[in-house]
């Protein structure tokens, strides 16, 4: 793959990830309240790395939109951690987004089946 193609691919991937980020963050809060660093490492564990400078403004916006509430809880190091928790509105939205996401990826998956077959054979002959 040429360097130009690689850059285009990376740009597209960045856009795609950006579009899914909100859903990923809401999902990270589904089972339990978490604070910033916890959300970052949780998503990293799921192979969904988020830029630290991107996460915090996003969390702030989610709070402003009423999708999450925050609570300051003292950490072991003596400085407070800001924990985020989904509100009922946030849970409902996360469910809806998740449903649409699954419907979309199901459609996309069937659309991509012929591509996947072809690209597998191409990779074998690709330099």
């Amino acid at each position: 793959m040429s360097r130009h193609d690689e850059e285009s691919l990376l740009r597209w991937e960045a856009q795609m990830r950006k579009g899914c980020l909100e859903l990923a963050v809401l999902a990270a809060l589904w089972d339990q309240a978490r604070y910033g660093l916890e959300i970052l490492s949780f998503l990293e564990g799921e192979d969904l790395e988020v830029g630290e400078g991107t996460l915090y403004p996003l969390l702030n916006r989610l709070r402003r939109d009423g999708l999450v509430t925050t609570d300051w809880i003292e950490g072991d190091l003596g400085h407070p951690r800001r924990y985020y928790e989904l509100t009922s509105v946030g849970r409902a939205l996360a469910r809806s987004m998740s449903g649409r996401w699954r419907a979309f990826t199901d459609s996309l998956r069937s659309l991509l089946t012929p591509l996947m077959k072809e690209s597998l054979t191409e990779e074998k002959t690709d330099v």
């Binding site: 899914c20 660093l37 400078g53 991107t54 403004p57 916006r61 402003r64 800001r82 649409r100 996309l108």
Partner: protein, 201 residues
């Protein structure tokens, strides 16, 4: 036992927070305090206990420049306010900041500048005509087609006369209002990080 390295690390963090706070001016003060406290907590936790200067520097690098971080917080806030505002100042303020961050934002800024420029020009002509009637108008002649404000009137007949002021005023207002509506729509449609249902094609 905390030593001077710890102090150095903490100083780096304090410095970062000071720049961040500066960039957040304009947001509600309790929100600014909460943001600063959270980022401080994030950086201190990353810097370790006792705080290590190298770790602190790395944590700061991962977060990105304080002014950029502040800009991201503000863009979200401003775009939200702009969505409910009709003020050209509020709208263009939000759009200009958006323009610095994305190509779409830049395009929207151009649209805003054009629309408000046209509206402003029309309003200006409307205001100027009673004062300098010879310098404002629509001149049409064999080699002349001029609509606007001039220093020397062209050699042609001026068509609008005293209608310039009411027409210019109305059209100018229409241009400003239409531009505001367009900007609001563009902001709502393209201006947030909110993920939408992905559209194929």
């Amino acid at each position: 036992m905390y030593d001077s390295r710890h102090d150095t690390a903490v100083a780096k963090i304090q410095n970062y927070l000071a720049i961040l706070r500066l960039g957040l001016r304009g947001l509600p003060s309790d929100e600014v305090d909460d943001i600063a406290r959270e980022i401080r907590s994030h950086l201190l936790e990353r810097a370790g206990d006792p705080a290590d200067p190298a770790a602190a520097a790395e944590a700061i690098a991962s977060l990105g420049r304080a002014s950029d971080l502040a800009a991201r917080y503000r863009t979200e806030a401003r775009l939200e306010e702009a969505r409910t505002s009709y003020s050209p100042v509020a709208l263009m303020g939000a759009v200009i900041q958006w323009a610095a961050m994305s190509l779409i934002g830049f395009g929207v800024a151009l649209i805003g500048l054009f629309g408000y420029g046209v509206g402003g020009g029309l309003l200006f002509a409307a205001a100027l005509d009673p004062i300098f009637p010879d310098r404002v108008g629509l001149w049409v002649g064999p080699d002349v087609l001029v609509l606007g404000t001039v220093v020397n009137a062209p050699e042609a007949s001026e068509l609008l006369g005293r209608w310039i002021t009411p027409i210019g005023f109305v059209l100018g207002l229409v241009a400003v209002v239409v531009t505001s509506k367009i900007l609001r729509w563009l902001i709502a449609r393209f201006g947030t990080f909110r993920s939408r249902v992905p559209e194929v094609g």
